[in-house]
């Protein structure tokens, strides 16, 4: 047996600018075990709920994550609305859907860029982010923030999108599809890129299920589950099928996300056509009492907001299980037995968002 060494990975690492620490136990070039530890930037936002009015907390919930902020806000609102039995106007639901999908497009483009950066393809990285910039502009134009939307509130949404703006956005997205295809095709067909991803970090269907993986990580391993199918917001009225790949390697995870970009654009198109007229919010009175688990699909997978309230303006408990947290067991498993040089790529393929794990 050769000698075992422990290599620390993170919390500061060039490919993963996020504070997770992994102790990699290596033997020669093989990783035997990876021991994660987090807590470097824990903000205790779950605890803050005991001191913040439940209506005001939306703004905090949105800031749990800087990338999927729209859906964090939306999930929190959904949880409160369920507990309080608030019927949200249709138009608000559609607008939430549109913003949610815009954030998925921007998040996946961001991830593709990071992935390209991870295997050292700088030009590709820049191009992914150039495209993402256009999406960020759309978000800024409609909500006022580039990544923090601030458009969701308990009982509806705060901002409306008028018809001409929405049409312009859809037209722009339609035009962008070709450009996105050009760039994402590099991930799909380029030999040197495929060399880094095909067959690397295979997560079998059984493993994905047992390890409780979520989102694209799970769908790339052949499990057909997408929380949007629950039919929250406007997804009930929209036509889409979860994107599933079967190989379970890094390449499949990449392909799932690429296809989801086009799916999201399609969903925005559908929602823009069906967007009904009407009010965008309802007045909220009273206080919540009860408990509920709100589940939605974020770019990174399923997020859970557990809420328990006892009829006061302060919630008793808010628990957020972010998709990255659920994907850490899968990561720990993937890293066992991989090559040391593949560690950054593997860590990237689960699309880790440690900041949201450290809510």
């Amino acid at each position: 047996m050769s000698k075992r060494t422990i290599i620390p990975f993170g919390p500061q690492h060039p490919v993963l600018p996020e504070p997770i620490h992994l102790d990699l136990v290596v033997e020669d070039e093989k990783v035997i075990e990876a021991i994660p530890s987090i807590g470097f930037i824990h903000r205790g936002l779950e605890k803050l709920v005991e001191k913040k009015d439940f209506i005001d907390y939306v703004y905090v919930a949105e800031r749990i994550c800087g990338i999927c902020s729209a859906i964090h806000g939306q999930t929190y609102c959904q949880a409160v609305e369920e507990v309080m039995n608030i019927a949200v106007p249709e138009r608000a639901l559609y607008l939430r859907t549109i913003w949610g999908e815009l954030s998925r497009v921007h998040s996946h483009l961001l991830w593709l860029g990071l992935m390209a950066d991870g295997f050292g393809f700088e030009a590709l990285f820049m191009h992914c982010w150039r495209l993402r910039e256009t999406v960020l502009d759309m978000i800024e134009e409609t909500t006022g923030g580039r990544v923090i939307f601030g458009s969701c509130k308990v009982g509806g949404v705060r901002k409306d999108i008028d018809k001409p703006t929405l049409e312009r956005i859809v037209a722009k997205l339609n035009g962008m599809e070709k450009e996105i295809k050009e760039v994402t095709d590099v991930f799909i067909v380029d030999r040197s890129v495929k060399h880094r991803t095909v067959g690397v970090g295979v997560l079998s269907k059984q493993d994905a299920y047992e390890l409780g993986a979520v989102g694209p990580t799970m769908r790339a391993s052949g499990i057909n589950q997408d929380m949007r199918k629950l039919g929250y917001a406007a997804y009930k009225q929209l036509k889409f099928e979860p994107i599933v790949e079967t190989a379970g390697d890094s390449y499949s995870r990449c392909v799932v996300r690429i296809k989801e970009i086009f799916q999201s654009i399609d969903l925005i198109r559908q929602a823009a056509v069906q967007l009904p007229e009407g009010p965008i919010d309802v007045k909220v009175t009273g206080t919540p009492s009860g408990e509920f688990f709100a589940r939605t699909e974020q770019p990174r997978g399923e997020v859970i907001y557990y809420l328990k309230a006892n009829g006061t303006r302060f919630l008793q408990r808010l628990r957020v299980r972010t998709p990255t947290f659920a994907n850490i067991p899968a990561l720990v498993k993937l890293l066992q037995g991989c090559e040391l040089a593949d560690v950054p790529i593997l860590a990237l393929t689960i699309d880790p968002c440690i900041s949201c794990t450290e809510r």
């Binding site: 703004y59 030009a123 380029d190």
Partner: protein
């Protein structure tokens, strides 16, 4: 395919750069952009609602000497104070605050109070 990227790379070589020459050309913010909070101090009643609702406690309202203060670096531009202000005297400007190296606090006082006409706005 080996050079699947060449077309994109070549076309960007001959097209206009997608970045801006920053300090020379500035980005025009959108109408909706959440930049910074401005106050019409004359209309404020110093009820303190904005400071109570602010998620980061960036606003301090002192009713006694009619002072409204905002800590610029603490404000996360969520726009909530604008929503809750009963007098609608707060607005969200679409220009960002200028970059700062130290905490920047802006305070506003009401000029109508006779004994502090001298420092009506000391920012």
């Amino acid at each position: 395919m080996i050079f699947s990227m060449s077309k994109t790379v070549l076309s960007s070589l001959f097209s206009k750069p997608s970045t801006r020459l920053y300090p020379i050309t500035q980005r025009v913010p959108f109408k909706n952009t959440r930049g910074k909070i401005e106050i019409d101090i004359a209309a404020c009643t110093f009820c303190g609602l904005c400071s109570k609702k602010c998620p980061t406690s960036a606003i301090t309202v002192t009713r006694a000497d009619k002072k409204w203060e905002i800590n610029r670096l603490q404000c996360l531009a969520c726009d909530y104070c604008v929503l809750v202000c009963p007098k609608k005297c707060l607005t969200m400007e679409n220009a960002y605050t200028t970059p700062a190296v130290a905490t920047s606090k802006d305070s506003f006082k009401v000029a109508r109070v006779p004994d502090n006409t001298a420092d009506s706005k000391d920012s």
